[in-house]
C-alpha cells in the first residue's frame, strides 16, 4: 500500500537492518544477478595480490540495492521517482548494515504530493558507507 501524505510529516524517520554478517556468497550472488563480475568483488587472490586490498568487498550497487528496501517498504511499490546514492566507504564481508531514512520535504508536483527523503546506511562501527536521497509519489 502506498504512503499517504496526510499521515506523514517532515522529520519522520525509519531504521531497518539490511544485512547481518554479509557473506562472500551474497556478494557472488549479486555479481551473478547484476552481471558485474569485477574480480575485486569475488576473487580473493586478485583482490589481495594484484589490487592490494585486504579482501574482496561488496559492489556499491549491492549496498544501494539493499538500501532501496527501506524506501520501498515505506513509500510503497512503484512509487519512487528518483533514487541517488554516493558510495562513501567499502562494505566488507562480515559487515552488518543498518539503513536510516528521513522524510525531508513534502511538495506538490502537478497537484500530487511528492516526498523527499535522505537516506544513510551505516556499518557496525557506525560509519556511513552510503548516503543518498530519493523522491517518491505519495497518495493524498
Amino acid at each position: 500500500m502506498a504512503l499517504r501524505a496526510a499521515t506523514v510529516k517532515v522529520g519522520d524517520h525509519r531504521e531497518m537492518s539490511l544485512v547481518e554478517d554479509l557473506t562472500r556468497t551474497q556478494i557472488v550472488q549479486y555479481a551473478g544477478a547484476s552481471g558485474d563480475f569485477n574480480p575485486l568483488h569475488s576473487d580473493e587472490v586478485y583482490a589481495t595480490q594484484v589490487a592490494g586490498y585486504p579482501t574482496v568487498f561488496a559492489h556499491g550497487m549491492l549496498t544501494m540495492g539493499m538500501t532501496a528496501r527501506i524506501l520501498t517498504d515505506w513509500v510503497g511499490d512503484g512509487r519512487l521517482l528518483r533514487y541517488r546514492a554516493r558510495f562513501i566507504k567499502q562494505v566488507w564481508p562480515g559487515d552488518t548494515l543498518t539503513a536510516r531514512a528521513e522524510l525531508t520535504a513534502i511538495r506538490e508536483v502537478d497537484g500530487n504530493p511528492v516526498a523527499d527523503f535522505d537516506v544513510v546506511t551505516r556499518n557496525q562501527a557506525g560509519d556511513a558507507v552510503l548516503s543518498g536521497d530519493a523522491s517518491a509519489r505519495l497518495d493524498p
Partner: protein, 176 residues
C-alpha cells in the same frame, strides 16, 4: 556503450531480488502482485543495472577466448600486452596496483515508470563531466555518464547517472 535489447524477465527479477535480500512479493509472486495497484510484478529499483548482461562489450564479464584480468593459474590474467578493461564509470571498474583502482562513486536513477517483466529495453550511454580531486591517497579522477533506457515503444523508462572514480592507491580496510 549501448544495449540493443534488454528483455526484462521474471526469472532475472527473482534472482536480483534475492541477491539484494529483498523478500517483497511484488518482485516474485504474480498472484500477489495481481492484487496490488500495480496489477502485476515489477522490478526492484536498482534492477536496471543488470542491463550489463546484455551489453556485448561490457568489460567486467569474462568472455570466451579473451584474457580475463581475474585470477586463474596466476593472480591476474592481465599482461602488459592485454591490459585491462577501460574506465567504466557507472559500474565500477577493474584495476590493478599499477593502474590504480576504478570504483563506483555515485549512482542516480530517475524513474519514469516501473519496469515490468515483458518490457524490452534499449539504452544509450553518453559521457558527461570529468573532473579531478586530490584525495587522501592521491589524485582522484571522476567521470560521469548518463544512460537513457527506453522501452519497446520508444518511451523513456529510466535515466541513470553514474560516476566512476579512479584512485592511485587501494582503499585501506578501516571498518573492521
Amino acid at each position: 556503450m549501448a544495449v540493443e535489447r534488454f528483455p526484462v524477465e521474471e526469472g532475472a527479477i527473482l534472482l536480483f531480488a534475492r541477491a539484494v535480500g529483498d523478500p517483497n512479493p511484488i518482485y516474485t509472486d504474480p498472484a500477489y502482485a495481481a492484487t496490488t495497484e500495480l496489477g502485476g510484478l515489477i522490478a526492484p529499483p536498482t534492477f536496471i543495472q543488470s542491463s550489463a548482461h546484455f551489453d556485448p562489450d561490457y568489460p567486467l564479464r569474462p568472455k570466451p577466448g579473451q584474457a580475463w584480468f581475474g585470477s586463474g593459474r596466476t593472480p591476474t590474467g592481465r599482461t602488459a600486452e592485454t591490459g585491462g578493461p577501460g574506465d567504466g564509470a557507472g559500474s565500477g571498474d577493474a584495476g590493478g596496483a599499477k593502474r590504480g583502482t576504478g570504483l563506483h562513486a555515485e549512482q542516480e536513477f530517475e524513474y519514469h515508470r516501473p519496469l515490468r517483466p515483458g518490457d524490452v529495453l534499449t539504452s544509450e550511454t553518453r559521457p558527461e563531466k570529468r573532473w579531478e580531486k586530490q584525495g587522501r591517497s592521491g589524485q582522484l579522477v571522476f567521470s560521469e555518464t548518463i544512460t537513457e533506457y527506453r522501452d519497446q515503444d520508444g518511451q523513456l523508462v529510466v535515466t541513470a547517472r553514474g560516476v566512476g572514480v579512479r584512485t592511485e592507491a587501494p582503499v585501506a580496510k578501516e571498518s573492521r
